[in-house]
Symmetry: C2
Subunit: 337 residues, 2 copies
């Protein structure tokens, strides 16, 4: 778990960042518990350092998220289905017995009154304006895209596509300061565009998804196979490319070819102004970006070419974006008062 | 050219529709001239039938449109590049000498005072509120999508993808009541997604674009080749499929396979709630829709399946949507007064 304290508008400066392990093997309740304990730590730090309570909380996770309902519909990494995470967190952070009573999942609300955060938070009666902390829930790549778009590599850009190349490949579609969720929270899944109809079987069930060909994991696997070292990674492949290894160049060029094919499909449909590439593979820097720009230019015909830039916020982009969403929610509530 | 009079909110009922030929071989000036004459006809009809002046005008055309600037950057069918159509029409419809003086294309403003429309329009001095008609310019498939989304097959749907299958294939991405233009007016070009890397050469310069495999024109060509009749069309292919011709079934199934591949890519990226299929090919009805729904269902794995429906407004969708955009502009100007 990554967490951050985010300062107020307009800069929304990240004030503090921290990391903790996720007790995913202990189930959703334990994860919620550890998120709350983590939130309490950050709150205590914020109060101590800045003398002010947080005004809102944002949480993001990988998987399929119903943002409007605040429910994690499916999170493979966590083994979750239909977890009403926003409600669970909101009840705990705000210590609201009425919300508890309305909970559809009675068993999940048993730990309502005894967390460090709830204890430390002023009661609703004492300071009603501050105690009611809104909680927003979103998808980690969408919040990562939001952060890159507002305070990162896409700052000031009206339309961008953020594509992190990591274990998998996801995407976030930035339009006019927001990230498009789609009708069911599934928009942006560029990693599962089929770029080679006869390509490798993907975990999603399709064949030849971009993700199977040019994620950091896919490049690591391909290089591992080519060089015979089962521990070899995408970073090792990049180093071998830089040192002039022709086998590495073949692995690398094949990945870039698939990546360019998928990205050109994305820009044919979306016409972004900026393409922000992040994730582990982007750490290869110009070893990736120089041939990638060239490959996109070669494939595109009528499409307007976007600027292709590396992500700026690293792997904390997701939690920074969750903080920005929380600020948005706070601003919306203040302006509707 | 298709034109329509559109009634006020909330129904925005189409009141009148008409068609005229486009004198494209006479150049942009002649086309602008004929658009103005056509507008004058519609205005006269509206005044006579409803006793009221139009409040705004919307124009759409195929090609690459800069909506913000009101410029037709490129329209292959018309042979246009960088035509400031919104300004040309606005000057003429509003008879504004100041705007004329500011025109970058002095030659294009020579016909400023002698059109039927300008004569019939009250002068700016007489009725300033009504004489100043805002003009909006957009892309015909995007306005078609807007119309399908507001008063057609996507009415009330938050997110849809509108894909007309005609001579070519285009697309319009509907999000929350608007159609997404992209950064340079190029969003939605789903017809140029590559679905077969070794497919036929497309007019755009790529190979295997969806448009080369499953537009109405592509199906007509394939059936023509299969049946030996150079005049055969997609509609003939559909009839032959319905009568059980196995050669037609092969042509048809191949097109549906390519169409499903492109559409699944579109829904992987965009997650629409409804997929609206229009254009000539959609006139085959269930001969198209039944196997298409099945093919999309077979290809999709994790993607949420949208409802797949035929377009409702036919080939007047574009001009109806231009009228809706004009109403939007009018409403924005009224509310900012």
């Amino acid at each position: 778990m990554k967490a951050a304290l985010i300062g107020p508008a307009p800069e929304h400066r990240p004030l503090y960042e921290a990391r903790r392990s996720t007790p995913r093997e202990q189930g959703p309740d334990a994860v919620v518990e550890s998120v709350l304990a983590f939130a309490a730590e950050l709150r205590a730090y914020g109060v101590e350092q800045y003398g002010t309570e947080p005004v809102a909380a944002g949480v993001c996770l990988p998987g399929i998220i119903d943002e409007a309902a605040g429910v994690a519909l499916f999170a493979a990494n966590l083994g979750w289905r239909d977890v009403p995470l926003r409600q669970l967190l909101s009840e705990r952070l705000n210590g609201d017995p009425a919300a508890d009573a309305a909970a559809p999942n009675a068993a999940d609300t048993a730990y309502a009154a005894d967390t460090p955060y709830a204890e430390a938070t002023p009661s609703a009666e004492a300071t009603p304006e501050r105690a009611r902390i809104p909680v927003v829930l979103s998808h980690d790549v969408r919040t990562g895209g939001l952060a890159e778009g507002r305070i990162g590599a896409g700052k000031g850009v009206d339309r961008f596509l953020f594509v992190p190349l990591g274990t998998g490949i996801a995407g976030a579609i930035g339009i006019d300061g927001k990230v498009e969720p789609g009708a069911h929270g599934g928009a942006g899944e560029i990693g599962h565009i089929v770029v080679r109809a006869d390509g490798p079987l993907c975990g999603c069930g399709q064949r030849g998804c971009m993700e199977t060909l040019c994620s950091a994991a896919a490049v690591g696997r391909a290089w591992s196979e080519a060089c015979g070292d089962p521990q070899a990674t995408a970073a090792d492949a990049a180093k071998a490319v830089e040192s002039g290894d022709p086998r590495a160049a073949a692995v690398w060029n094949s990945a870039i070819d698939a990546l360019a094919a998928g990205l050109v499909t994305g820009l044919t449909l979306l016409d972004p102004r900026t393409l922000i590439i992040g994730g582990g593979l982007a750490e290869a820097g110009e070893t990736l970006f120089a041939p990638l720009r060239e490959a996109v230019r070669e494939r595109a015909t009528f499409q307007r070419l976007p600027t292709i830039v590396p992500a700026a916020l690293g792997d904390a982009a997701g939690c920074l974006g969750a903080g920005l969403l929380a600020w948005d929610q706070h601003s919306a509530e203040v302006s509707s008062r």
